[in-house]
C-alpha cells in the first residue's frame, strides 16, 4: 500500500503557508488594495504559444482553466478603477519540475496610475515581508545588460550564428528559434548568476517577449515595459506597465494564435470580453503576478516545490 494519500509537505509548511497568506492580506489591507475573486473557469483560453491552457467540457461547451487571473482582473479594473489583488490557483499544462507543479498558487495585483518601476518597489517590500525580513537589498538591470554580462549575447545586435554557437554550448541543437535561444541562455546563463541574496529586477524585455506590456523606445532601442523579479536563484514575479490599447491587444492575440497554428498547437478561443473591456477603457496601471509556492520554498529552504505543497499533481 503506498503512502500517496499523505501530503508531500510537512506540518511546518502548512503553518508557513497560513502565516504567509495572513501576512500578504495584512500588507494589502494596510495599503488599501482590495481582495477580489474572479472565476477560475473562462470561455477563453490563453493564446500565449509558450503556455498550455487546460480545458474541460461542460455540457458541450469548452471552458479553460485560468493560467493567470489577468484577463478577468483587467475586466474588473475597467469597471471598477481601483487597486485590486487576488490569491488564486492557476493551471499550466506540461509544467512539472523542481520549481513547477501543474496547479500552483498565484498572487496577482494591479495598481492604477502606477508605472512598473513603482510596482517593483512594492514587489521588493512584499518579498522581504514574505521572507520575514525588514528589508532586502535590491538590484535592477535591463534584459540587455543581463544577457551581455552573463550570456555574452546582445539580443538587439547578435546574429543567428552567435545564438547558434551559444545554445550549442548548452547542448541544444540548431533548431531553436531566436526567442527559444534567448530563453535558454537567459535561464542557464543569467538566472543562476544573479545575486541570490538580493531581489533582482530585470526589465526592458525584447519586443518579441512583451506579452501584455506596453512597448517604448525610452532606452534608445525598442523594448517592453516588463520586469521579472528574482531571489534565491528563482523567478518569483512577472510584471508589466499594462497594455491598454484594445487594437494592439487584439493584434497581439491574433499574432499569438497564428504562431500557435504554425507550430501545430491548438488555438484556444480568444477573449473577446477582454477586448470589450479595453475598448471601454482600462485605466493606466501596472500589474504583477507572483508565485506563492516559490516564496514558501525560499522561506523554508525547500529544494523542491513538493515540500511546500499538500498534494502535488501526481497525488492529487
Amino acid at each position: 500500500m503506498s503512502d500517496d494519500w499523505r501530503p508531500s509537505g510537512d506540518g511546518d509548511c502548512l503553518m508557513a503557508r497560513a502565516s504567509l497568506l495572513r501576512g500578504i492580506r495584512d500588507f494589502f489591507e494596510r495599503e488599501d488594495v482590495l481582495e477580489v475573486e474572479t472565476p477560475v473557469l473562462s470561455s477563453a483560453g490563453n493564446s500565449d504559444p509558450r503556455i498550455e491552457s487546460l480545458s474541460i467540457d461542460i455540457n458541450g461547451q469548452r471552458f479553460w482553466l485560468q493560467t493567470s487571473p489577468e484577463f478577468a482582473m483587467k475586466r474588473l479594473l475597467a469597471a471598477e478603477h481601483r487597486a485590486i489583488y487576488q490569491i488564486c490557483k492557476v493551471f499550466r499544462g506540461g509544467e512539472r519540475g523542481r520549481n513547477h507543479n501543474l496547479e500552483f498558487t498565484m498572487l496577482e495585483w494591479y495598481r492604477p496610475g502606477w508605472t512598473h518601476f513603482e510596482l517593483m518597489d512594492e514587489v521588493a517590500r512584499l518579498i522581504a515581508l514574505a521572507l520575514g525580513r525588514a528589508a532586502l537589498p535590491t538590484g535592477t538591470l535591463t534584459y540587455r545588460e543581463a544577457m551581455r554580462t552573463h550570456g555574452q549575447i546582445d539580443p538587439w545586435l547578435c546574429g543567428e550564428n552567435d545564438l547558434r554557437t551559444a545554445v550549442g554550448e548548452l547542448g541544444a541543437d540548431a533548431s531553436l528559434d531566436r526567442d527559444e535561444a534567448l530563453d535558454l541562455i537567459f535561464s542557464v546563463r543569467v538566472v543562476p548568476n544573479l545575486d541570490p541574496d538580493s531581489v533582482i529586477f530585470i526589465h526592458a524585455f525584447p519586443e518579441s517577449q512583451a506579452a501584455l506590456a506596453r512597448l517604448d523606445e525610452e532606452l534608445g532601442y525598442p523594448s517592453a515595459r516588463r520586469f521579472e523579479a528574482f531571489f534565491g536563484g528563482m523567478e518569483l514575479a512577472n510584471g508589466y506597465h499594462e497594455l491598454t490599447d484594445p487594437d494592439e491587444q487584439e493584434q497581439r492575440i491574433k499574432t499569438e494564435l497564428e504562431q500557435r497554428r504554425r507550430a501545430g498547437l491548438e488555438q484556444p478561443t480568444a477573449d473577446h470580453r477582454l477586448i470589450k473591456a479595453l475598448q471601454h477603457g482600462l485605466p493606466a496601471c501596472a500589474g504583477v503576478a507572483m508565485g506563492i509556492d516559490r516564496l514558501l520554498m525560499l522561506r523554508s529552504g525547500a529544494r523542491h516545490i513538493d515540500e511546500v505543497l499538500c498534494f502535488p499533481v501526481e497525488r492529487a
Partner: protein, 188 residues
Amino acid sequence: MASYSTNEFKRGLKILLDGEPFNIVENEFVKPGKGQAFSRVKVRNLRTGRVVEKTFRSGESVEAADIFEKEMQYLYADGEFWHFMVPDTFEQYAAEEAAVGESAQWLKEEDVCQIMLWNDSPLSVLPPNFVELKITETDPGERGDTSSGGVKPATLETGAVVRVPLFVNEGEVVKVDTRTGEYVSRVK
C-alpha cells in the same frame, strides 16, 4: 524501438542520441515564466563513459536505447573475447576487450558479473564488488619493516597487482574491493 518524451525523463533512463547509448544521470525542467520550456539533462555515454549536457525542448521525443543488464557467470577468456553465461538459460555471450576494460584484472572463473547489453551485445562488464583471489607472487615481508609504509605489492592469480600488508604471503587468498582495487582482508 520505443521512444521517450521529455516528461518521462528520469535518472537511469537509457536513451539513444546520434546512435550512441546514454544513461540519464540528471534531469531538470527549465522554463522562464513566459518562455519556452526545456529539459536539460546530464547524460553518460555508456560506451565511452563520458558525461555531457544536452538540452531538449519540453515535449520532444528521443529514441529509447535497447539496454539490459543481466547477471552472468564468467567462463573463460580466449585471448580475443571474454565469455560469459546466463546461469538459468545457459545463454552465452562474448564480450570484446573494449567492453571488459579494467574489469579483466578481477575476473575469476564462475564469478557472477553484471553485464550491460546493448542490442543484445555486451557493452560493459562489472565484476562483483568483492573478489577472492590467490597471491601468485610477492616478496616475503620483514616483520617490523615500516620503511614501505607497511605494504608491499602482490600479484594475484588474474594478473592484478594490489598492495597488501607485509604479513601476507604467497599462496594466500585475499579479498579485494574491485571498485577501489584495494586489499580488504585475508581469506581463511
